[in-house]
């Protein structure tokens, strides 16, 4: 074993706690800009309350939201770095330790396949019974071994959509369909402002993996032309913070476009993150 097991577990656990309890500076700045931009007093108050909640959670290292989310792990691997099965096990153990520390909401369903679907298997009382989603691994040019932990809540999972779009050889067709889907999703989400995460790929798996990557590399201070267009168009809906009207329905859009196939169809994965997402942090091992 070419790594220190205890060190990896401790680092991943700390990363999960930070993911579940803190706003990065670029997100805090985005909230401050949104507060300054809102004209409706109620919308301004909602945004201020969300930001104040983040300050208290960071100070206490306690959950931002009672739905602490499902842990998703994304690993960047540089040219001379090595990922072994033992390292992945240590990362999973770090996730479990992080869930104990946060604490994560005990929401793992027990039982066989049928029992886990209809919940007849019962709910585990333990925070650390919650398994992480399958780990995504990506090779990168930088010679690092970096672990990102993302905590994905249930509300955005209800409203997220992975579905094809017939693009008609026109980018506007794709963007407008994304806007339509996002408007419907944010209206029902309840915990806006959202950070829209979008992946465009050749299959459902690829589109979703790209959507995860869009979150991992998200920066609220940077928006491409396409991302800004989607943000602006959805904000015209006036859904606003908590769905109670206002100018800030979308705080930012994060879009990752992967390789595409010669075809009239694009597969688009879209997740309307809640007001705390992307809930994530990273660490170098």
């Amino acid at each position: 074993m070419a790594f220190d097991y205890n060190e990896v577990v401790a680092k991943v656990a700390d990363t999960l706690v930070r993911a579940g309890s803190t706003f990065r500076q670029d997100k805090k700045d985005a909230y401050k800009r949104a507060i300054a931009n809102e004209e409706l007093e109620r919308a301004k108050w909602n945004l201020e309350t969300i930001l104040k909640n983040a300050e208290v959670a960071e100070c206490n290292r306690s959950p931002l939201c009672d739905d602490t989310g499902i842990p998703h792990v994304f690993v960047e691997v540089g040219p001379n770095k090595c990922v072994t099965g033992a390292l992945l096990t240590a990362i999973q153990d770090g996730v479990r330790e992080g869930l104990r520390q946060l604490p994560g909401r005990p929401m793992a369903i027990m039982g066989d396949d049928k029992g886990r679907i209809d919940m007849s298997g019962g709910i585990s009382p333990d925070s650390d019974a919650l398994d992480a989603a399958p780990i995504l691994i990506k090779e990168v040019e930088e010679d690092v071994l970096r672990v990102h932990v993302l905590m994905l809540g249930g509300g955005p999972a209800i409203r997220g959509i992975t579905h094809r779009i017939f693009h008609k050889h026109n980018i506007q067709v794709v963007l407008d369909e994304i806007v339509t889907r996002a408007k419907d999703a944010t209206r029902l989400l309840g915990c806006t402002p959202t950070a829209l995460a979008i992946g465009v790929g050749r299959s459902q798996f690829e589109a979703t993996a790209l959507m995860m990557e869009a979150m991992v590399y998200s920066d609220f201070s940077k928006q491409s032309d396409m991302e800004q267009y989607i943000t602006d168009k959805v904000n015209e809906s006036n859904v606003g913070p908590l769905g109670l009207n206002g100018k800030t329905t979308v705080l930012a859009t994060f879009m990752k476009v992967g390789p595409q196939r010669a075809s009239g169809v694009r597969v688009v994965a879209m997740r309307p993150g809640c007001c705390f997402e992307p809930r994530m942090a990273c660490v170098e091992l």
């Binding site: 909602n46 208290v56 206490n60 009672d66 929401m107 309840g190 915990c191 007001c275």
Partner: protein, 169 residues
């Protein structure tokens, strides 16, 4: 900003005074219940077994939340088992449904018939934790975080999103 505080369970007079868009602080005894337990509570209403568990819904509040070591915070009120049980819960006495997300027009119309309201609360768990004075499981403990809890709360900040047949959606 300072907002008025209303204490649950509510009188008809208090409910009539609430305005759509108004921010209020909710204090007092409220019930926490969500997807799994709400249909079971409807069954308890039908069986007449609520009182055996010390549950009194008259003028009461149902907060759509789990109760766990992570804290409390609203789940989506427009989920099937939550919005779908609102008619029975309202008919049985609940006068404030507290959660998040847009509700159907027919649900809001139904509230008007009973003088009930829908309030939205931000999912600000870190802030809400200091406002929960006590919590007690009162029904279906086997459901863990999805059981029904009685909470005593102090000044939960809420926005009246639907009342008297009007809504913000």
């Amino acid at each position: 900003m300072e907002f008025r505080t209303i204490t649950a369970p509510f009188t008809d007079e208090v409910l009539k005074s609430l305005k759509v868009g108004e921010i209020v602080n909710v204090s007092g005894k409220i019930y926490a219940a969500r997807d799994a337990v709400l249909p079971k509570m409807v069954k308890m209403i039908e069986d007449g077994t609520l009182a055996e568990n010390g549950i009194d819904l008259q003028g009461g509040v149902i907060f759509h939340t789990a109760v766990s070591p992570a804290g409390v915070g609203p789940t989506s009120s427009n989920k099937l088992e939550i919005e779908g049980t609102m008619p029975e819960m309202t008919k049985a006495g609940i006068r404030m449904h507290l959660g998040k997300g847009e509700l159907k027009k027919e649900t809001i119309e139904m509230f008007k018939e009973y003088g009930a309201v829908y309030a939205v609360i931000a999912p600000v768990t870190a802030l809400l934790n200091s406002k929960v004075i006590s919590k007690k499981c009162v029904a279906h403990p086997e459901l863990g975080m999805e059981a029904c809890y009685e909470l005593i709360v102090d000044k939960f900040p809420c926005i009246i999103a639907a009342a008297h047949g009007e809504s913000m959606f």
